[in-house]
């Protein structure tokens, strides 16, 4: 190892083990406060330390924060975002032979499968004339703020592998997720909240915790799950019978004893531990404040739909959870409050879009859940001047087939199968073009015919929005420099405003 590498390694190892999850500025002031750092120079140096220390990007950033809605299970693009009149005309017909031959399906029996038109009615909205189905009356009102991508492609057609690809850029275990890469690259501007937060509504996704793990990156870059009930972050509240004032008192003694130890053995790791405990103490007050929605006006709560009950629960499908509407609305509002507090990446996971059957009812239920609060979020961010540097994404792992699913034994085709060849996602804010529809699929929505966007391209562009060069944001593991974009990916400059 040459000296330069050694120094790099020192830095990496220090990152790996030093106080984290929070800003490096906070760390240095903390250390100074505690008498661990005595000079201004020292404080400056310590600012280089924490893993969540704000790092300069490679180029001027457009986005500072990202709210990534992960609609796991794969929503049907032809029922929401990508109108296909020809598909409707050819309802009941079979797929052309040439197309069929190169397709793989999860459940469809190819020989007898037929095209399934949509019952949705599509219209154009806004000055841009962006098209939405009638399931999204509120989001369609934001048409002129959105960049709609109709030409996403993936190569994974099972859920968990597809979800890993969308979150990690490569369909393998042990890899860091998007939020991990971005906080690794940029740190976090939040001084007392985690830099990478996960919110979840409804049932668990196929990927579970693998969708926000940090893989080979240090644990500091893992997504921190905020809970839907009870304490917002695991272990945030003091044990029963220990009020906060006694906790602070105990933390004081703890700091004193740790400092004594530090003076004896001089291990900088002890200083890091002191900082970790101090910051943990601050998180204990910051997180409850974050989730206290009483600070919001009634008008805001109403806009987001906080307190809505689920409409027709029979349409929720067998796998939904109770009170998903309210929970999703709360997560949207929490996401805004996190952005305001400097959280870098918020992964909002909702898992029930896998509509192999009963599509019409279930997608209506889900769209109803997502539509109003997401639209309110976009409007709210815009109103507060936050949308310019906050990127909101509607993401998923793949799309659904224009073919109806004729799985063995089903009397009617009421759903769609997995479809990695073409799907839709949209974004708002973050310095991307607004009111733009990008890419196109063929007449029936089977293949991308214009401007294909692979998941790696999407990630390259996402990183670019944050001022990060996807080829430079690397981490050496097992002798190889890994990237979010694996070995591919190109920045789609057409999207940049």
């Amino acid at each position: 190892m040459n000296p330069y590498e050694q120094i790099q390694r020192t830095r990496r190892e220090f990152f790996n083990t030093s106080a984290s999850g929070l800003g490096g500025v906070a760390l240095s002031s903390m250390l100074a406060q505690n008498g661990l750092l005595e000079s201004a120079d020292a404080a400056e140096n310590a600012e280089q330390q924490g893993p969540m220390q704000v790092q300069p990007p490679n180029t001027a950033p457009r986005a500072k924060s990202c709210i990534f809605f992960f609609m796991a299970g794969a929503p049907s693009q032809v029922d929401l975002f990508d109108p296909k009149p020809v598909l409707n005309e050819r309802n009941g017909q079979s797929l052309p032979k040439g197309v069929l031959d190169r397709a793989r399906f999860a459940f469809i029996q190819p020989d007898s499968a037929t095209l399934l038109g949509t019952k949705r009615k599509f219209s154009k909205y806004g000055e841009s004339g962006m098209e939405f189905s009638d399931l999204l009356p509120h989001l369609s009102g934001c048409a002129d703020d959105l960049l709609m991508i109709r030409s996403m492609t993936s190569e994974e057609f099972n859920h968990h592998p597809g979800q890993l690809l969308m979150q990690c850029g490569v369909s393998r275990f042990g890899m860091p997720t998007m939020g991990s890469w971005i906080t690794y690259g940029l740190g976090s501007e939040s001084e007392n909240l985690p830099g990478y937060v996960v919110l979840s509504s409804g049932r668990g996704s196929s990927g579970g915790a693998t969708l926000y793990q940090s893989g080979f990156l240090p644990t500091s870059y893992s997504g921190v799950l905020f809970r839907n009930s009870g304490e917002p972050v695991l272990n945030l509240t003091t044990p029963a019978g220990v009020p906060p004032e006694l906790q602070s008192r105990a933390l004081g003694t703890l700091r004193d004893l740790n400092q004594r130890r530090f003076q004896e053995v001089h291990d900088p790791e002890i200083a890091s531990r002191i900082a970790s405990y101090e910051l943990a103490g601050r998180m204990q007050s910051a997180a409850p404040d974050l989730i206290d929605l009483n600070q919001e006006t009634q008008a805001t709560l109403d806009d987001y739909g906080i307190g809505r009950s689920d409409p027709d629960t029979s349409a929720r499908g067998s796998s939904g959870n109770k009170d998903t509407y309210d929970s999703f609305a709360r997560n949207c509002l929490l996401a805004r409050r996190m952005v305001e507090r400097g959280v870098r990446f918020i992964n909002v996971i909702h898992a029930s879009w896998d509509h192999h059957s009963n599509l019409d009812n279930e997608i209506k239920f889900n769209a109803g859940m997502a539509d109003k609060p997401m639209a309110a979020l976009i409007r709210d961010l815009k109103q507060r001047g936050l949308l310019d540097d906050t990127l909101v994404v509607w993401g998923t792992e793949f799309g659904r087939t224009p073919l109806g699913e004729n799985r063995g034994g089903r009397s009617a085709n009421t759903g769609r199968d997995h479809h990695p060849f073409a799907f839709s996602m949209f974004m708002a804010g973050g310095g991307f073009k607004q009111g733009m529809t990008y890419g196109a699929t063929d007449d029936i929505g089977w293949d991308v015919v214009e401007n294909p966007v692979h998941v790696n391209d999407f990630h390259a562009t996402l990183l670019h929005a944050f001022g990060l060069d996807h080829k430079k944001l690397t981490y050496r593991f097992q002798g190889r420099d890994f990237r979010l974009t694996d070995v591919a990916g190109k920045v789609i400059t057409d999207w940049l405003a």
Partner: protein
């Protein structure tokens, strides 16, 4: 003090002055890393841009497409490579991306070419050389008063070379705590600490080492290290992530093997190919579950072949990481850019596992289960005997079937029967219709009710027959028919086979001897641990060293390739590798020799002067301080709280976990039913590991996710970790248990606190610490006296005579359980 701390912080802002003396060029040290880092991506195994490949000498000396010679041996000025790296024309200068090479780097290349442009074999693939580089210096170091063992001579002579003095021995309390944490993952009892501190016999330390190595808890500590590598878990991994209710049987095999000190070569062979051993035992078959720990995808609509291939790839890559320290995974899609490992060679290794299928194997249950089954069986036999005796009696009293009954009927009996029955009896047996047969049968049943009841009683009891002593476990077994031919897969895609390949070793390593046309999985396993293969023993002793020193002699235990770190003490590494073989691969003996060394026994106190010279402590001028692993944190806390259940083995357990954590896994299909009684407090390694919803306390402290093999855990230090130690219910319970334990002994507040420090930190208290804690205790006491209802809320307070005292003590003692000193092994 702050200055010392900053020394490390500032390091990378200092100008770098490489200090290459005019010693001859060492290809591995000076040139190979440079080529790997800056050249091989375009001029390596797979790519020959401009006709240049720099991974092998013969290739590098060839003429380029341009007609020029990249390297002219002995003539730097004629070597195109030097012209290109030092060109001032940006279009010509190599490498095209990134900063140009530094003057020092160019100077090294120049000297290398003038000295003959040697391409030495990469250090890791060379035969072991356990001889010290400088025998005289080594001898002198061995004779030095400081040294105890040959290990020390290697370390001390290196320190002398750098002009650095080693550290003194750690204090006895530190030594005993270190040994207990390292070997058992449990804290020493205060009595053991006192006895050791007061024991002046020369072998006091050695006796503790031997006692700990003989403890059954040794396997719970060292087995966990191995389970990280085995990516052991209790569920399938993908999506539905179904539970694997018998997976723990493999875990228990590992624990048993480690406690019995199964030599590492046999340990290896059993796990990779136990099924292929002659007359293999059920235990050897169970051992092959090592490679059944791969993930399973049972999502709807999957192609099973795709996921079978994925599992075989994982087996190949796990073998590469664990036994060879090589990142073979890079060659799954293309030839390795840096190491000499081709795309084809990846599939040659893959071929060893391509005919190994997941199958069921019957293995005996645990002795505990078998004893319990035997008791059930005894009860069953007794019960069965009673009903059978009764049946026998009834059989003597009643006819056995309809025919016998009919034959036994006397005229007066017939007259008592109903008319339809009598009519049926009048019909000849052969001519009776179904209705008549049914009627007669019913009449027979009625007439022989006691017999029928006795028969029923027997069959009811028989239904309760206890299960067999055997249980089916998923393991790996060789496919006998329809054997698969392995193909290279284009970009690793299972649907895109290229040319076929056969099982074979890697070109960089010795070939695998075979008794038949091609080597088997068993021959592969034996070859790994054969004398001919230098790599595996190096990799394996490096693991052991890493667990005892916090970092390996090779700092990248998962990469012994050209981009990995070079060993800090290459001859020590080889000495240890050789020694491990001499000790017949006894893990315990190897650990024993290592912990007996003076190098291991050094103090870990950071020395200010070293912060500049050797900030990462590569030369081992002290021991290392590091936080203990997730499981150990929990175990030592529970142990000090008097709560730890030390039961070993058996099904995995479910300590407290918030239900939302389980809910993130697929479709709410997983419920975490918290264990009751002692199982709530079992050691961390027995915690049920659900891959899509792993226990957050484990994950916060860097337990690997079990999806891929792991040979090196992170040691993060985060606010979430702090919150866990402060507030998590398990640690709160431990604090309350600790308070109860302290209150059970007599003494003043000060004496009790001193005792607590001894229990928790294995050392005597210092006055200032006591004062600080006494103050906190007084304030806590005052608080709970004023707020008795808060005291009542302390978890285990109910049932205690004095909840106020208990709460005051618990909230004071939890400070000890959060000390950095407690969380590190030192």
């Amino acid at each position: 003090m702050p200055v010392r701390f900053l020394a490390i912080l500032c390091l990378w802002t200092l100008p770098v002055v490489p200090c290459f003396a005019e010693a001859p060029i060492d290809f591995g040290r000076d040139i190979q890393p440079l080529l790997a880092e800056r050249c091989l991506a375009c001029h390596g195994v797979d790519n020959d841009e401009g006709g240049l490949r720099l991974h092998r000498r013969a290739e590098a000396l060839k003429e380029l497409e341009s007609g020029a010679m990249a390297i002219v041996v002995g003539d730097p000025s004629a070597s195109e490579i030097l012209a290109r790296v030092s060109s001032s024309d940006e279009d010509l200068r190599m490498p095209p991306e990134g900063d140009p090479l530094t003057e020092e780097e160019i100077a090294l290349l120049t000297r290398w070419i003038s000295e003959g442009a040697r391409f030495d074999q990469h250090w890791a693939y060379r035969p072991l050389n356990p001889q010290p580089e400088n025998v005289e210096a080594w001898d002198a170091a061995l004779r030095d008063d400081w040294s105890r063992t040959p290990i020390d001579a290697f370390v001390l002579s290196r320190l002398h070379q750098e002009g650095i003095a080693p550290s003194a021995s750690a204090a006895r309390p530190v030594l005993i705590k270190r040994l207990y944490y390292d070997l058992l993952g449990l804290p020493p009892a205060p009595e053991a600490v006192t006895a050791f501190v007061e024991d002046s016999s020369p072998d006091a330390y050695e006796r503790i080492v031997d006692r700990l190595l003989a403890s059954p808890h040794f396997a719970e500590r060292w087995g966990r290290h191995w389970l990280d590598m085995a990516r052991y878990a209790d569920s399938d991994g993908y999506e539905k992530d179904r539970n694997r209710p018998q997976a723990w049987r493999y875990r228990d095999w590992v624990l048993k093997a480690i406690n019995e000190d199964l030599p590492f070569d046999e340990f290896t062979v059993a796990q990779l190919a136990g099924d292929l051993l002659e007359e293999s035992t059920s235990e050897e078959k169970l051992a092959t579950a090592f490679h059944r720990q791969t993930l399973t995808n049972t999502e709807g609509g999957t192609n099973p072949e795709q996921w079978r291939v994925a599992a075989v790839m994982d087996r190949t890559e796990t073998l590469g990481t664990v036994w060879l320290g090589l990142t073979v995974g890079c060659a799954r899609c293309h030839s390795h850019k840096y190491d000499e490992l081709s795309h084809a060679e990846y599939y040659q290794l893959f071929a060893f596992f391509n005919n190994a299928d997941e199958i069921n194997s019957e293995v005996p249950k645990t002795p505990y289960e078998i004893r319990s089954l035997q008791r059930e069986r005894d009860r069953y036999e007794a019960e069965l005997k009673v009903v059978q005796t009764s049946l026998k009696e009834r059989e003597g009293e009643f006819p056995a079937d309809v025919a016998a009954w009919e034959a036994s009927l006397k005229d007066e009996d017939r007259e008592k029967l109903d008319e339809p029955i009598r009519a049926a009896l009048d019909v000849a047996v052969a001519e009776r219709n179904d209705e008549q047969k049914k009627q007669l049968n019913e009449a027979y049943q009625k007439a022989t009710e006691p017999l029928q009841a006795a028969r029923k009683a027997v069959s009811e009891v028989e239904k309760k027959k206890p299960a067999s002593d055997l249980v089916k476990v998923r393991v790996v077994g060789e496919r006998a028919i329809d054997r698969r031919q392995t193909h290279i897969l284009r970009r690793g895609e299972f649907l895109e086979p290229l040319e076929s390949v056969n099982p074979e070793s890697l070109a960089i390593l010795p070939s695998i001897p075979s008794a038949s046309t091609e080597p088997t999985r068993l021959e592969l396993a034996k070859w790994l641990v054969s004398d001919e293969n230098p790599l595996t023993s190096r990799v394996i002793v490096n693991h052991l060293w890493q667990y005892l020193f916090g970092q390996g002699i090779v700092a990248t235990p998962n990469d012994f390739g050209v981009r990995g770190d070079r060993p800090t003490h290459p001859r020590l590494l080889d000495y240890l590798a050789n020694r491990y073989r001499q000790l017949d691969w006894s893990r315990k003996a190897m650990i024993r020799e290592t912990v007996l060394s003076q190098t291991y026994r050094q103090s870990s106190v950071h020395r200010p002067e070293m912060a500049q010279i050797d900030p990462l402590n590569r030369w081992l001028s002290r021991q290392n301080r590091f936080r203990v692993e997730a499981e150990t944190l929990r175990d030592v806390s529970l142990s000090i709280g008097g709560l730890l259940d030390q039961g070993m083995g058996g099904p995995s357990v479910f300590p407290p976990m918030p239900s939302e954590v389980a809910a993130v896994s697929y479709a709410n299909s997983f419920k975490w039913a918290t264990s009751k009684g002692g199982d709530r407090y079992r050691r961390g390694l027995y915690t049920f590991f659900k891959r899509t919803a792993p226990h957050p306390t484990l994950m916060t402290f860097d337990c690997p996710d079990a999806n891929v093999t792991n040979v090196q855990r992170n040691r993060s230090n985060t606010p979430l970790g702090a919150l866990t130690m402060l507030n998590n219910i398990v640690f709160a319970e431990a604090a309350a248990g600790f308070a109860q334990r302290i209150l059970a002994s007599e003494g003043s507040d000060e004496e009790r606190l001193a005792n607590a420090i001894k229990i928790c930190l294995a050392r005597s208290a210092e006055q200032a610490e006591l004062e600080s804690l006494l103050e906190l205790l007084a304030e806590s006491r005052a608080f709970y006296q004023a707020n008795p209802e808060a005291a009542e809320q302390w978890l285990t307070a109910s049932g205690n005579d004095n909840p106020i005292e208990l709460a005051a003590w618990a909230s004071t003692l939890r400070v000890l359980l959060n000390l950095d000193e407690f969380m590190t092994r030192e």
